[in-house]
Symmetry: C2
């Protein structure tokens, strides 16, 4: 045993009732990018998605933490052009591409990396599209007082059931507000996406449309080799989304459940392994899917020369098999 | 509060007596690269360092986790040539350069990255130099049964006071054995480097020579902007060395103390902040040095657009000031 990751997870239904949990379900957590599917709600409900004829690809990008691969960047640039804007309108900052191939390609091309490469550029383009559709001046669209963020905050509050004016708020890596909510509330928001039967009709339609887009375009929600892409490609009934600092959230429409998990020290490697095992315990994986997702369920650590050196293993609370 | 890092540290004198600690000093830990200064002992004691006229630069590289910057790679290549070998003799595997500048330069140059770029290439060249000096066939020099690793294991056992045949052994990222030892034993090994007064004379000379090389060439022990480089450049009396998975070790000759720390979940950001605060508590930093090392003592987290978003803060056990 070398390193240890602690954390908490909770699985709830759309009423917020706990189905399974480990650790403290009331633990406050900044959901970070794990709530992007909820943050994308106003993109549809302002009418922007219809006005600009957005397809599953753009809706998936609005829910995405992508890797800045060429296809991601091209799609964001094309979407920005369609709403009359350019990458300079994005306030998320600049990130270099997050796959070795994409990084190498950008360096060799000698072209400057723009904000369109940022993992949140699709979400931000969604915010801007809603601004354009509503006639809001996009300037300052990342600030809490701007109509763009007010819409997002309202949708988050409605879906999680939290009074977001009463919780700590911080600035996410891309500049927008991120609200500290109980882990159970984050899971509830995801459960309501999964089972929108008690939501108003328009919100229920939005939920279905966003989850359908994520399922249809997993590459645009994350990118090559990413946990979210690989899990959604293998298990079309699961919608998962990761966030910075070891957060994962999932909407499981077939089960009508939502999942939220947080790794205390924020390691993605632990969050991915834990998320995979929670989905497995919930019966989301068949044998073929379990095989396909071995790299996340039983990650092998190799030496730099490629010899086996160790493994990441779930503790009993996660490893417990659902099947007999 | 977003993420939490737990861990343990211990400060001992050369007899192994605990001066300060938090957490369990008996906690078993794989020291990884934090013991490189101890693993370099045979390079001197086999006579290889003298035979090949090694300077502080090569001795620093033997103790290094460097970043694969051009100066590191050139120095390793030159040293390999001096012992009649090439990078193909290195069994550590290949790593891309670890600074954005060096990575970009390697891509633009279009030259293949060799094992000389690996952070452990200096340590491995040291092993090879000892093999050449001793007339050992270098083939398989990373395996536990090879004379090169037997020499290293013996030096580690003598310095830490551990029976390494009785502890778990794993394969480090560079392929050599890494032994699980109590945190206190790791600290004891570093304390005996710092205060070699009770060591045999030849070993005491080796300890002084290795610590002098690290102090003289901090860039070659780590690289641009690295914690080890920055701390040793600011505080010549401290010798620090990090290892994978949140380990740090330090030799403090002026105090005659050794330090070892392990962050449970392995995060370097936490290990660096903790190491900086332990050194501060031990009185290693003057006001100017504290100022110079603010980026490690009080790391600021920025958004990707450069706005303040948060900070990494030590808990009370680390933050407690030494001065009144």
């Amino acid at each position: 045993m070398e390193s240890r990751h602690r954390g908490a997870f909770v699985v709830v239904d759309a009423s917020g009732k706990i189905v399974r949990c480990a650790g403290d379900p009331a633990m406050p957590v900044y959901p970070r990018s794990a709530v992007k599917p909820l943050q994308a709600i106003p993109l549809i409900e302002t009418g922007a998605a219809d006005k600009f004829g957005l397809t599953n690809k753009e809706l998936a990008l609005a829910c995405a933490s992508h890797k800045g691969e060429p296809a991601h960047v091209e799609a964001v640039n094309a979407w920005l052009a369609r709403i009359g804007l350019s990458p300079s309108a994005l306030a998320c900052g600049v990130q270099a591409p997050r796959t070795p191939d994409a990084a190498k390609r950008a360096i060799l091309a000698g072209i400057p990396v723009t904000a369109a490469y940022h993992n949140c550029s699709g979400k931000h383009t969604g915010f801007l599209a809603a601004c354009v559709a509503c006639g809001d001046n996009p300037s300052g669209y990342i600030d809490a007082g701007h109509p763009a963020q007010k819409r997002v905050t309202q949708a988050l509050a409605e879906m999680t059931g939290c009074d977001l004016s009463a919780v700590p708020v911080a600035r996410d890596g891309c500049g927008i507000p991120t609200y500290s909510v109980p882990l159970q509330s984050l899971a509830t928001g995801m459960a309501r996406l999964a089972d929108p039967s008690k939501l108003p009709e328009a919100r229920a339609d939005t939920a279905k449309r966003l989850l359908a887009a994520m399922a249809a375009e997993p590459f645009y929600v994350n990118g090559t080799g990413g946990f979210t892409t690989e899990v959604m490609a293998a298990v079309p009934s699961a919608r998962v989304k990761g966030g910075a600092e070891g957060v994962y959230a999932a909407s499981l429409p077939e089960l009508g459940l939502g999942v939220a998990l947080k790794i205390d020290a924020g390691a993605a490697r632990a969050a991915e392994c834990a998320a995979a095992h929670i989905l497995r315990r919930l019966g989301c994986f068949g044998a073929a899917q379990e095989q396909r997702l071995q790299a996340f369920l039983s990650p092998v650590i190799k030496t730099d020369a490629g010899r086996d050196a160790g493994a990441i293993r779930p503790t009993a609370v996660l490893a417990l098999s659902v099947a007999p």
